[in-house]
Symmetry: C2
Subunit: 127 residues, 2 copies
Amino acid sequence: MEEWGGKSYFKLEFVSNPKTLVKNWKEKGGKVVHLTMYGLNLTEKVSELAQINVPLLVIVGSEKVEGWYYYNADYNIAVSNQPHSEVSALAIFLDRIYKGEELNISFSDARLLIIPKERGKEVVRRE
Amino acid sequence: MEEWGGKSYFKLEFVSNPKTLVKNWKEKGGKVVHLTMYGLNLTEKVSELAQINVPLLVIVGSEKVEGWYYYNADYNIAVSNQPHSEVSALAIFLDRIYKGEELNISFSDARLLIIPKERGKEVVRRE
């Protein structure tokens, strides 16, 4: 984030008790989406999800996600009912929610800026 | 693939000389897309790419991709001009090319089938 910006967009935090995070999120009126290949297909639910106008917590896990999350999430959503990369599931989910607009984001605090090119690399440094 | 199917869709292979693969691909009339954050934004090129009707080779690499690939690819395409996961870039690229239809694929040779559910997991085994 120092180089590529986004400090006002992103905040990274480790939490020791993720269940408490989920509970507090819901108590404050937020919604919780758990991405899992066992859930309902994203295609069917995307218009409903895109209309959520409260803060959204998205949970992605690996193979060992406890049943608790399935039962406490407001939505269990499958980015296809096939095994897949969790990182990619999050990317596709956000892409649908943001309707592709995330590809055009540029961060005002970025020090490094890429100039899109047909060939090669061009990076500008702003001081 | 034994369990989840897709043997007729996917073939995994290690190649010792990826440059030869690229050269042969182009000689046989195929096109080559290299996904890199330094390229032209996917949003601008997606309709052109979706119209390619010859076999498409997609290259994703990590930080150390040689300049050779930038100059021998037919297209250098950025899934956003920001640092990002290569796996996610491939997912977003394929999602756009397939217009989301990949989320509905089911493989006829799959032994395990997920029944989409609002809560919990349901998997059917076919023998």
